[in-house]
């Protein structure tokens, strides 16, 4: 096995190269090699969802994916999502709904919610609950997280509406 593997992929819309040890996880690469610390470690074995990222649009626990597997793929992290309109809208919805307390699970939940809304812009509450089932939160009891995703999924985007009014 080579000591390092050279990979090239799209990270938050930017072509990115990295040289990674074969056993390194995508989570470790993001946090330790690329300095993107918004993706959190909370269990390291795919049980909590704090490290959720999008890989070619699908939500993935980045702790369970080898960094080398990112080669040729499109990776979106919370830093990339938060810089998009959908991301801003989700951050605002989580904030306004009171869905954030200690906040450690929140980036993963925002990513999970983004994946859900991309697949189904108007999910039912049961579908929302099911979609975030793999994301653990110890502070909020989930109620306000569900409310936030409902808010983000309904009606016109408030940011776009406000921009329209201003013109």
């Amino acid at each position: 096995m080579p000591a390092r593997i050279d990979i090239e992929f799209t990270l938050n819309g930017v072509r990115t190269r990295a040289s990674v040890p074969p056993a390194m996880s995508t989570l470790a690469m993001l946090r330790e090699v690329l300095g993107l610390t918004g993706t959190k470690y909370a269990c390291g074995e795919g049980e909590c969802g704090a490290c959720t990222i999008l890989v070619d649009g699908r939500s993935v626990n980045s702790c369970l994916m080898f960094a080398a597997e990112c080669d040729g793929r499109e990776i979106l992290t919370i830093e990339g999502l938060a810089a998009t309109e959908r991301g801003e809208r989700l951050v605002r919805a989580f904030t306004d709904a009171g869905a954030v307390q200690c906040g450690f699970c929140t980036p993963g939940l925002v990513m999970q919610a983004s994946a859900l809304l991309a697949a189904d812009p108007q999910p039912s509450e049961a579908e929302i609950r099911r979609a975030i089932e793999g994301n653990l939160c110890r502070c909020t009891g989930y109620r306000k997280i569900i409310d936030a995703i409902v808010a983000a999924s309904s009606g016109p985007d408030p940011a776009l509406a406000a921009a329209g009014e201003g013109q």
């Binding site: 938060a82 009171g98 200690c102 906040g103 929140t106 089932e133 793999g134 909020t140 009891g141 306000k144």
Partner: protein, 780 residues
């Protein structure tokens, strides 16, 4: 309308009771918040700890020579390298690095600092330890038996702590009883599961001062403890708290990993970061205290409680942390949740080789409420009275001082009972579900209630309970609120800003809160005991009122109006009566700075009001105000599988007054679901001293699809001492759930289960009479 002017408009109406989003939510939700795990200092090393391979053993020899040779390793230390280390913990009963004996599997034997965590981990594998196993003691009852091995040679009988309390004459109470019930309850191990794992960064500055990036809940108290540990002046220690990924009481004590990181930083003269893995978090962070609880209670036929005798045995684990002191809270529920004329309470916390217990949201009250509220139902049933009526008959009222000496200036218990019962349909459903116990449908429904009493106005656990505030006004009417209060996710920064804005007529956006650096912030006892809104809130209001008085005096001098005729609203000094604007606040402040050379930095402090501190017999007051709640739980019990589903929680909470509605709802919902986990899913399995399920796959937290419908009413009793009338609420919502679920399962099935948790296996066995009920075996 611009955001600024919109905010200013909003600030002309009261903020109290509004839904105010948490101030740091955007940076957390967008991944920008930098937790300890995210910090990377120049030259920083990474540390790992070698823990014991035996539950109880002598350490015969440790060989670190091979580990030291590994490239990238900067230091490998054992107790021999830090002969100056001192004991830590509530009872100062253990050293961070164990020199000659290990007493539990979490015990720290050696530690490594290396260039990367991977190298440090590899180095641990090269350390050789020779042990001589000792007899293992992993049962609290066995620890009390004559001849049991001693966990600590200087603690005879393995007793870590005892608590004794009594009032009245329980013999007389029993003689006056028409009905007496007795049960033994067993409360299990659970753990905090903060999503952010434990971690610390220690760094010595060139002048020898220690800078600690810490998740502590009590930075000022820990400054002193670390100073004693290192033999340096506490003034040379600075504790910075980055955003904390959950605490729930777990960070009230110092644990060995913190001193160990400090030792490594001192030896290597480099910043040292030590962060747990999740497995380590399960194995080496504190638990809620497991309790064996024998309760005997009586009442008269007319529904008057006559006496209670409680005896509890706490498995302290190998060392003493705050878990050992939870009986202090438990006895309050036993003596004073309801009126009990005769009461006796006895607790022993004993050493074993098990994991050791810390403080955890509710602080013993979940355990005590579980037992007391089971007996409220049993006694009511025994005399044929509805449990709601029975509770109302014995409930405390405002103005009472209990025989223990707790004084309830405000008390909404009766309103809580009535509200939760009415909105849930408790009385009718309980009757209907009981009638269905014997019908053919194997899926049963049940409803149960429980109430609680908890400190809500600070807690006299330390000799003083206070908090300081510094409030600074800049030229543009921007406020910097510097508070001693620590933030662990509960929303203190937002509620403190709200209280200040309410006084100064400013929008939340006009405030910056600084709350995480002991070199900057004023003194505070720490975030615990649901005290921050009450104590730090009163302190913040004090500073804001000083600022307001200064501003209005200046405005009066400039405008010719009397100061009493003026007020602050919407960013302006206005006439109180008409709301007419006199001068813009920013403009006034600029003139004060430039023309009047005014000082616009306010300092203040708040200490809990004088009251009768508890004496050695635990008689006296423990808080300036008390929080009350009733929660009704409705469950579905599948008698074929033992699966219990929590369908609906109807709560009524006496919170004094709602300050931030969004924040308080979040506290209640989060607490309810934490209580749900305690009741139904969470179980830290400790067998022969080993934790068998140190991962989220096997330690089951509640997930989003499982949460109940939650309906909460707030009972606003407007506490005279509370900030804007508010009382503490942080711990309250978790306390009643397990007790109410137990009563609901009994209502559904006719079976009273006295041991937690209500996992399918345990419920299935209990319903078939195949579960061994908890036994009380300790000698009296």
């Amino acid at each position: 309308m611009s955001a600024v002017s919109e905010n200013r408009e909003l600030a002309t109406v009261s903020l109290i009771g509004a839904r105010i989003p948490k101030m740091d939510a955007p940076e957390k939700a967008s991944g920008r918040a930098r937790y300890i795990h995210d910090l990377q200092l120049p030259g920083m090393l990474h540390a790992k700890i070698l823990r014991s391979a035996h539950v109880h053993a002598k350490i015969v020899a440790i060989d670190t020579s091979q580990a030291k040779k590994l490239p990238g390793v900067h230091a490998v230390i054992t107790a021999a390298d830090v002969p100056w280390q001192r004991p830590i913990g509530v009872a100062k009963d253990h050293l961070p690095l164990k020199p000659d004996r290990v007493r539990s599997l979490r015990d720290e034997i050696a530690a490594v600092a290396a260039d990367t965590p991977e190298i440090a981990e590899a180095a641990l594998g090269l350390i050789r330890v020779e042990y001589e196993p000792l007899p293992v003691l992993t049962d609290a009852t066995a620890a009390l038996e004559p001849g049991a091995p001693l966990i600590h040679a200087d603690r005879p009988g393995n007793i870590a702590m005892t608590f004794d309390y009594s009032h009245g004459d329980v013999g007389q109470g029993e003689a006056e009883s028409d009905v007496v019930v007795e049960d033994v309850f067993r409360l299990h191990y659970v753990t905090h599961c903060c999503m952010g794992v434990s971690g610390v960064i220690a760094e010595f500055e060139p002048n020898g001062n220690l800078r600690l990036y810490s998740n502590t809940q009590v930075p000022f108290l820990h400054k002193r403890e670390f100073a004693e540990l290192l033999g340096i002046d506490p003034g040379r220690i600075r504790i910075i708290q980055p955003p904390i990924g959950g605490a729930f009481g777990s960070k009230l004590d110092i644990y060995p990993f913190e001193p160990i990181a400090i030792f490594l930083a001192r030896i290597t003269r480099r910043p040292v970061k030590l962060v747990f893995t999740r497995e380590e978090e399960f194995l080496a962070s504190p638990t809620r205290q497991p309790v064996l609880f024998r309760l005997r209670s009586g009442c008269r036929k007319d529904g008057t409680l006559t006496f209670r005798v409680a005896e509890t045995l706490h498995d302290n684990g190998a060392y003493t942390s705050w878990g050992a002191t939870t009986p202090f809270v438990m006895m309050q529920t036993v003596s004073s949740l309801y009126r009990v004329p005769h009461c006796k309470y006895h607790t022993r916390a004993v050493y074993t080789n098990n994991p050791y217990a810390g403080s955890f949201r509710g602080y013993g009250n979940l355990q005590a409420t579980f037992a007391v509220e089971a007996h409220m139902d049993r006694l009511a049933d025994a005399i044929g009275m509805d449990p709601l009526e029975f509770r109302l008959k014995n409930a405390q009222e405002p103005g009472e001082t209990t025989p223990q000496g707790m004084h309830f200036r405000t008390c909404g218990l009766k309103d809580c009972l009535k509200s939760a019962a009415e909105r849930s349909g408790y009385v009718e459903k309980r009757r209907a579900y009981r009638a269905r116990q014997m019908d053919a449908n194997p899926v049963k429904r049940g409803i149960g209630m429980a109430s609680m009493l908890h400190v809500g106005g600070g807690a006299k656990i330390y000799p003083s309970d206070g908090c300081g505030t510094i409030l600074k006004l800049d030229d543009f009417a921007h406020v910097t609120l510097i508070t001693g209060a620590s933030e662990i996710g509960q929303g203190s920064e937002t509620v403190l800003a709200e209280l200040v804005c309410e006084e100064l007529g400013l929008p939340i956006a006009a405030v910056t809160v600084v709350n995480n650096d002991t070199d900057i912030t004023p003194w505070d006892v720490g975030v615990h005991a649901s005290r921050t809104t009450f104590i730090a809130g009163n302190s913040a209001i004090g500073a804001a009122r000083k600022a307001k008085a200064k501003i209005l005096a200046a405005a009066a001098a400039k405008s010719g109006h009397a100061p009493e005729a003026l007020d602050l609203r919407g960013g302006f000094v206005v006439l109180k009566a008409s709301g007419e604007r006199v001068i813009e606040l920013g403009k006034l402040i600029r003139s004060l700075h430039f023309q009047d050379k005014a000082e616009l930095v306010m300092t203040t402090h708040y200490y809990e009001p004088p009251s009768k501190h508890q004496d050695r017999g635990f008689k006296g007051d423990v808080s300036a105000a008390y929080a009350w709640a009733t929660q009704v739980c409705e469950v579905e019990v599948d008698t074929q599988t033992g699966i219990v589903r929590l369908l609906r929680v109807t709560g009524a909470h006496d919170v004094g007054r709602v300050l931030n509605r969004l924040g308080i709802e979040g506290q209640i919902e989060g607490g309810v679901v934490m209580g749900q986990g305690y009741a139904l899913t969470e179980n830290l399995i400790v067998e022969a001293g080993a934790i068998r399920n140190p991962c989220f796959r096997d330690y089951k937290l509640v997930t989003a699809p499982e949460i109940p419908e939650i309906d909460v009413e707030f009972i606003e009793t407007m506490d005279g001492e509370g900030p804007q009338g508010a009382k503490g609420v942080g711990e309250a919502p978790a306390i009643c759930i397990a007790a109410a679920v137990a009563n609901a399962i009994e209502n559904a099935t006719g079976v009273r289960i006295t041991a937690l948790p209500f996992t399918p296996e345990n419920v299935y066995r209990a319903l078939r009479g195949a579960a061994q009920p908890p036994q009380w075996r300790p000698a009296d």
